[in-house]
Amino acid sequence: MKKKLVMIGNGMAGMRAIEEILAANPDMFDITIFGAEKYPNYNRIMLSPVLAGDTTVEEIILNDEQWYADHGITLHLGKRVSEIQRGYKKVVAEDGTVAEYDNLIIATGSNPFIIPIPGHDKEGVMAFRDIDDCDAMFEAAKTYKKAAVIGGGLLGLEAAKGLLHLGMDVTVIHDQATLMNMQLDAVAGEMLRDELESQGMKFRVSTLTTEVLGDKRVTGLKFKDGSTLDCELLIMAVGIRPNKQLAEECGIFCNRGIVVNDYMQTVTDPSIYSVGECAEHRGIAYGLVAPLFEQAKVLAYQITGQGLKSYQGSVVSTKLKISGVDVFSAGDFMGGPGADIVELTDRVGGVYKKLVLEDDKIKGVVMFGDTADGPTFFQWMQDGKDVSEMRSTLLFSASGLGDSGHSGLDQASQMSDETIVCGCNGVSKKDIVDAIVKEGLTTRKEITACTKAAGSCGGCAGLVDQLLAATLGTAFVESDHEPICACTELNHEQVKEQVKNKHLTHVREVMHVLDWEGEGCQVCRPAINYYIGMIWPEEAEDDRTSRIANEKMHANIQKDGTFSVIPRIYGGETTPDALIRIATVAKKYNVPTVKITGGQRIDLLGVKKEDLIPMWKDLDMPSGYAYGKALRTVKTCVGSQWCRFGTQDSTALGIHLEKELERMWFPAKVKLAVSGCPRNCAEATIKDVGIVGVDGGWEIHCGGNGGVHVVATELLCIVETAEEVEEIVKAYLQHYRETGRHNERCAPWQQRVGLESIKAAVVDDIDNRKALVERLHQYLATQDKDPWVERIEDAEKENLKTFTEYKPIEIPVRVEA
């Protein structure tokens, strides 16, 4: 028979413990949960952003009611437990509901502290603690204009910012001289105050409130110095008190909170556990979210009898969740007399960083303005890392990414696997890296969608980006045998081999013959479609349904569902007539944004889907393939034709290469550049292939990238003539087409296979070079038509559906009787 587990409290800490228990042993307990609030578990630390309008109540629900049902949990919402009967091992709720337990978890959290000054019970005086408080503040802001917040700490400032956002006139009253004095020193506090004042917040610091004025409803405040302040809404945000009443009443030992041992058991009754803000461990009741995740894990290990993981307490760091204000603090940030302090103050730039050191180790950190390195410093502080050798550069950037991003040494790679990256959702480095590798993720958004990291306050977004860069940069070495995605067991090389050996020419055929799981996904289907076209150019049938939206539509989908149109402008050289045509089209179709791109062409943004074909027709210019894993641009400088420094005609070579290689599909997008002299105005050395003219010849550089992870090119070879450039560039690109993995840019590909092997294949072995060029030409011969022209022709044929794919069908709206 299953044991009975009852939990009092339905908040973040308790629910995290339940999730951990289910993960450790899903069948051990029948679980019953009592929640005093009427909402299922939500992310309480996100209430401030809700109030500030950055997110909504729906978005911060962590477990909806269906989740409880799916896990067989009995949930009593809106039922307050009135008594724990330890002798009978049962709890009784106010409405008479009874639940028996073998194990009980008390996760009642904390209550806001209301200062017992005269008038504190008037209407319009409230705390900021739950969704109901949030709603009350929304309501109040509709009727009243003037608000006061007592408490200039984390929660008080976040509440004040929220009220400001709701259009209220807000004054924050703080009893200390420094805002957030528990987390900030005087300098940081002052900078924070300046910033918030510039956002419209008012302050009364070093001020004690003695009385709340008004008859029935609050009308003002009276201070110790006799002065007063008018207000119609008063938020008290002076701190929280662990909610220990139930435990105390049934004889469980409590101090400030419910006292627990290192296994989160109450010291009085080992069948009863406590976790979260109500629990006191080694004298500390934590009021922040991060320690709860570890506590929850320890509790789950202990209660399911899995082992001896114990809780040793947490070192906590703080971030303020006000958009546009970055504050970070951890440890002993004040530093006593004679403390070893490294600091940087830039008041005009709004940046302040201070590290308190002891024996060359970080003891505390406080940062304002630029807090990107906060988590690194915090990690080093916990690790006791010796920073003596970095003293002189410590405050400029803890991470290599701070300068230009290609040093390869960044904070993400130095973190241990278990380090929590996203404190809001308790996601570790390992969780994120595993997700990137196993799911083939390439953007932070995908990581957030998959793991929830960076999905709440967003404070760890930078760190997640670093993990992404670090993981993608090396994953190609480490994950040689990783399958393409969850739909198959096979990796890229195995799929290519099978496509070749079994002569597979359809995406569906590949998935069928190779035992695919289901109908594939956005990772594997486009990859297969690329491989069949690359290996069997003359026979493979391009499967448009396996192309992502951009490639299917021959236009880039934008965030609002409109598209962008970029015609090809060879080498970035255009003519007055072409510009007039683009301008005329832009006007005719009311294009909202016309943008010069980084690739020296013109982007028409915000185009409706149904306008695409008529626009292409009016433009009468080739498609720029800006939407595809294809040849994008060949960027050029003006070169010897005009430039007084130019040594080679870079524009002519660039235009020639772009004409030769247009319509070429690759594993990932490909960008070229040609500079006419070593001054390199076309920035050729961060391109997939960059050509730099020198006196008497050309340097061919390759494998560069200017994206998330900046990589400079490596020198492939130096040749004398433009014809040789053309041949070697073609061979290099075909070699990449054949050996690159889908979605792998040139730079990581080159790092994976090595420059030497590439040199051998495309420079030294002249026969192989010619064969590569020959295969490239064979492929190009199959791409004989511009895709825009194809679509236009389709549209003009009778009875063809393609055109209408671009246009919605109109139907009448039927109003229900």
Partner: protein
């Protein structure tokens, strides 16, 4: 009561792809699955309103073109770990005609 409206012929929707239908302010995506069954949902991903019709059809699911959310076309439910739901519409095929109900 379903009020069935004729929308188009089945073979006017490419297989494993979609057509959009506009009814007043609402845009509905009608998907033709690989086995020629049809499904209809509102053409707005619950995440960032991505046009689902442009996504990749995988079995009975659609992958949103903006951020690859996976949405089950029968229930309109978003696959975990994401959460959300998109409005579904009744749709059927009769004599090669696709019929949609806005009820």
């Amino acid at each position: 009561m379903n009020n069935w409206i004729e929308v188009c012929k089945l073979d006017e929707i490419p297989r494993s792809a979609a057509r959009t239908v506009r009814a007043g302010d609402t845009v509905i995506a009608i998907f033709r699955l690989s086995d020629d069954r049809v499904k209809a949902v509102e053409n707005r991903c619950p995440h960032r309103q991505g046009p689902l019709a442009e996504g990749i059809v995988s079995g009975d699911d659609i992958l949103c073109p903006l951020h690859n959310w996976r949405i089950h076309l029968d229930s309109g439910e978003v696959a975990p770990p994401d959460e959300g739901c998109v409005k579904t519409y009744a749709v059927k095929i009769e004599d090669g005609q696709v019929l949609l109900s806005l009820a």
